[in-house]
């Protein structure tokens, strides 16, 4: 198939940026979306033009590196699918496809489709962990965990930290990401000890990074490639409220 791409080009963080139009001829349905971009880039380089910068690594939907807004939707709108796992069989000959970076103030564009998601790392650094050092930990089976709790914790822990939730939210809220980590650790006995402290610290950092508030539109859950449930946000709000209360007491 032959496609037309409208791609966001921006030389660096200071450049205002603009859309450029490119032809993508001879695209095969079995190609992944990023393989399609590889082909276009190879043509650009051969013609002496600078290729489109975009992030990817695993190309299996697990590292959370790829971060494209495709036709207005983060990751392109296929259910539970990252941009790297999206295949061209979902497009048709003659389509025009718009490709943009994540757009959110806390995620500044570095170049073209590449953004800086360091804010997510800083939120984890603020409290997204269990404070145990290496060594001296108890025997793994010493503490049974209810299977339902372990399974629910795993549902939350599957978050790949891609940031699509932020990109989809009109308020650029990071609540789905933050609540996934707070829930994953808070649901397990190992993480319960620091539950209050963790919620307070991570939420404070999230606010400091400039992420917006949640107004429960559900757009984050809809684009999440790992289908992280918005129920975790409710759980986080509960945890946070309890922690605040205890802090006040």
């Amino acid at each position: 198939m032959n496609l037309t791409l409208k791609v966001w080009r921006q030389k660096n963080a200071d450049d205002p940026g603009q859309f450029e139009t490119y032809d993508a001829p001879g695209i095969i349905p079995d190609m992944s979306f990023l393989e399609m971009l590889d082909v276009v880039n190879d043509q650009l380089i051969a013609a002496g033009k600078e290729p489109i910068a975009f992030d990817s690594d695993c190309r299996e939907g697990i590292c959370g590196t790829c971060s494209l807004v495709i036709n207005g939707t983060p990751h392109g709108g296929q259910k539970a699918t990252t941009a790297c796992q999206l295949h061209m069989r979902h497009f048709s000959d003659g389509d025009t496809i718009t490709i943009e970076p994540w757009r959110a103030r806390p995620f500044p564009v570095l170049r073209d489709l590449v953004v800086d998601r360091g804010a997510f790392d800083r939120i984890i650094q603020a409290g997204g962990f269990v404070s145990v050092n290496t060594g001296g930990t108890p025997e793994a089976n010493g503490l049974p965990v209810l299977k339902d709790d372990a399974d629910l914790a795993m549902d939350a822990a599957q978050c790949i930290g891609c940031g699509a939730c932020v990109a989809a939210c009109k308020n650029a809220s990071a609540m789905l990401f933050v609540s996934a980590k707070i829930s994953h650790l808070g649901l397990l006995p190992q993480g319960k000890v620091e539950k209050d402290r963790r919620a307070l610290k991570m939420v404070a950092q999230m606010d400091q990074e400039g992420f917006g508030n949640c107004t429960v539109t559900g757009s984050c859950e809809a684009v999440c490639p790992k289908e992280i449930s918005i129920n975790f946000i409710a759980r986080m709000n509960g945890d946070y409220a309890v922690a605040l209360l205890k802090q006040g007491a």
Partner: protein, 646 residues
């Protein structure tokens, strides 16, 4: 060079404890005076950086991804081994040790492997304490399953995302140390040179991948935990950005490279669909617990609907050839069986270049026995992934799979302390020549990465620092020293050269061509003739690269084309060593299969008289052939045996 593996004396089971007792310590108050540089934030690097920082050292950690959480370890699916014996099925440290040595076709160092099996149990305790959500049984205890190359259930898992969960555990520990100010993290930063002064590794030169700025960092020890070199084949299951640059640069500074010909081909990957392919996707080997591998008995049936082929016309290759392990035969053996069937014209799937490269992995029986819901619970995400890529539903028709490059057992040679032949340079995880000999067993890479990072380096690095520096006032090499200046200039010169060539071909086209050459002649089956051709063709391609590659943009900006060019340039040098090592190893063992060395039944033939050694290649200078040093492998505890899975 004389290789000294520094294996502690004494009985195997006591070596590590004894060594731990004998190693020198740095007083906690003095540790913050030491700078340790860790390159890599995967399981090995992330665990090492976090633990060294917890101990009080000053750590700088580097990775080229935008976050340490995205290291390639994140992609591991199936699980991690440990000799916990929770299933009461007869597991023990001794058995895990034996399975790993045998799985590696008796080409690993006994003492290291024994230590790995010993610390495996601590890893699970550590990860559970961090909140890693391993699968559990209704009683609340940890669940385990079986994996290729083993007859018991010692593999711990977190759905199909074990690597992700283990890496997030290490990342969270690392993040805690970053937050506390004990680790300074440099993401989107690539190490391009090791700095050596007076014969010791004293720092690194790195490039900031956003600004292009090149800077020098001084340290008292350097750890490389930079992953494997599978992408020398271009197509592999590794993440796109995995590369050999760090260990290759270190090789040229004196860190010998061992056994590069030991590469692992994984039997269960989604077959290639066409020329555009940028990478291959693994379907976890855990699928072989319930899936049955088969091809049609007759070539004429290959394009038929698999369901229409009656049982009597199917060849369940692995069950037929290896009745006691069946579909759980180790990876190299299962891969070769698939290749043979396809070479005989009995492959399935689309015809590409006149061949059908695929075999069926069929779940019909398992679905009939356990129900679709149970299979969905076990492998749901893998079946979904398969459908996303191929557009086919594997609950209704068998999957098609074919072997692909997956893991590299070769790597920087290290002694028992994980230190390379360049003093002060430690190498961990997939980057070292590892504990897996000529073939790695499933679920053992995660174990090794975390063993190295959490439980071995934190002791051995400290020992090195205590032995080589004054603990109260360790001497720091200034980044203004001539050694740093020279390394910085070399990095600059190389980047400038790449940018100036302005030829006709893209970096990608060179990488693809190199990969195809190496796969064809140094992939699943290798011959003297093919390897000699490869050794003739690689230098020619490399020469063309340096004359005719086109790299766009400048060095002072985010330039992915330039990053890629540097990595492919290193692969073009490294590939030659890989081919040379494969040529020199005149035997078949594990992942290294030389067609000249097989028995009547086509099984690999080892040659213990001449090749029971690790081959550690030493850089001899530009244009000179590398020097081969041999570390004899001495087996005190284990009898060398033919590796049979029949």
């Amino acid at each position: 060079m004389k290789l000294d593996a520094k294996i502690p004396a004494g009985p195997l089971a006591q070596k590590w404890d004894k060594h731990k007792f004998e190693m020198k310590l740095v007083n906690p108050a003095n540790r913050r005076k030491f700078d340790v540089i860790v390159i890599g934030s995967g399981l090995a690097g992330g665990a090492a950086a976090a633990t060294l920082a917890e101990q009080g050292y000053n750590v700088k950690c580097f990775c080229f991804q935008d976050s340490p959480r995205r290291a390639h370890s994140i992609a591991a699916q199936g699980g991690i081994n440990a000799a916990k014996n929770y299933k009461n099925d007869g597991d023990s440290v001794q058995r895990l040790f034996y399975d790993t040595i045998k799985g590696g076709d008796f080409r690993a160092r006994e003492a290291n492997v024994y230590r790995l099996a010993q610390v495996s149990v601590n890893i699970i305790d550590q990860c559970v304490a961090q909140g890693v959500p391993f699968a559990r049984e209704y009683g609340g205890l940890l669940d385990t399953r079986s994996f290729g190359g083993s007859q018991l259930q010692r593999t711990f898992y977190a759905r199909g995302q074990t690597g992700q969960q283990l890496l997030l555990g290490a990342y969270q520990s690392l993040s805690r140390q970053i937050g506390l100010g004990n680790v300074k993290m440099f993401s989107r930063t690539e190490m391009l040179e090791v700095v050596v002064a007076k014969g010791q590794a004293r720092g690194v030169i790195v490039r900031d991948l956003v600004s292009g700025e090149i800077t020098a960092h001084s340290g008292h020890a350097v750890v490389l935990a930079t992953g494997g070199y599978g992408n020398v084949f271009f197509l592999s299951t590794n993440a796109k950005l995995c590369n050999v640059t760090a260990t290759w640069r270190a090789y040229k500074k004196g860190a010998c490279y061992a056994n590069p010909c030991y590469t692992q081909i994984h039997p269960t990957c989604i077959p290639v669909s066409g020329e555009h392919q940028s990478k291959l996707t693994l379907m976890s080997e855990s699928l072989r617990n319930d899936g049955r591998v088969w091809v049609p008995k007759k070539a004429a049936d290959c394009d038929k609907d698999p369901k229409s082929i009656p049982e009597s016309d199917r060849d369940y290759v692995l069950e037929r050839k290896y009745p006691s392990f069946g579909n759980l035969a180790p990876r190299d053996i299962a891969s070769r069986a698939a290749k043979e069937a396809c070479d005989e014209g009995r492959g399935v799937g689309p015809l590409i270049d006149g061949k059908r490269l695929g075999v069926y992995l069929d779940f019909t029986d398992a679905i009939a026995r356990f129900g679709e819901a149970k299979i969905r619970e076990r492998y749901g995400n893998l079946f979904d992934m398969y459908e996303r890529i191929t557009g086919e539903n594997a609950y209704q028709q068998p999957m098609r799979i074919y072997p692909a490059v997956h893991y590299t057992m070769g790597g920087t040679w290290v002694d028992y302390n994980l230190m390379s032949t360049l003093p002060g340079l430690f190498v961990a995880g997939e980057a070292n020549f590892s504990d897996h000999g000529a073939n790695r067993l499933g679920a053992s890479a995660l174990m090794q990465g975390l063993a190295d990072g959490y439980f071995i380096l934190p002791y051995t690095v400290g020992n090195y620092l205590a032995a080589n520096y004054s603990a109260a006032k360790p001497e720091t090499l200034s980044t203004a020293a001539p050694e740093f200046k020279a390394a910085l200039a070399a990095v600059n010169e190389r980047l400038t050269r790449l940018l100036k060539i302005n030829g006709q071909r893209t970096v990608l086209s060179f990488h693809r061509q190199l990969g195809k050459m190496v796969w064809d002649k140094c992939g699943m089956a290798r011959s003297e003739k093919g390897l000699k051709e490869l050794l003739r063709d690689i230098p020619a391609l490399r020469e063309e690269f340096w004359k005719n590659v086109k790299v766009t943009g400048t060095g002072e900006e985010l330039n992915q084309d330039l990053e890629y060019a540097g990595r492919v340039a290193d692969f073009l040098e490294f590939a030659e060593l890989l081919a040379l090592d494969a040529l020199e190893r005149k035997e078949s063992c594990g992942g290294h299969f030389r067609v000249e060395y097989q028995d009547q039944e086509g099984e690999a033939q080892r040659n213990d008289d001449d090749f029971c050694h690790a081959a550690a290649w030493e850089y001899a200078g530009p244009g000179k052939p590398p020097i081969l040093n041999k570390e004899p492998l001495v087996f005190e505890d284990i009898h060398l045996a033919k590796r049979s899975y029949k």
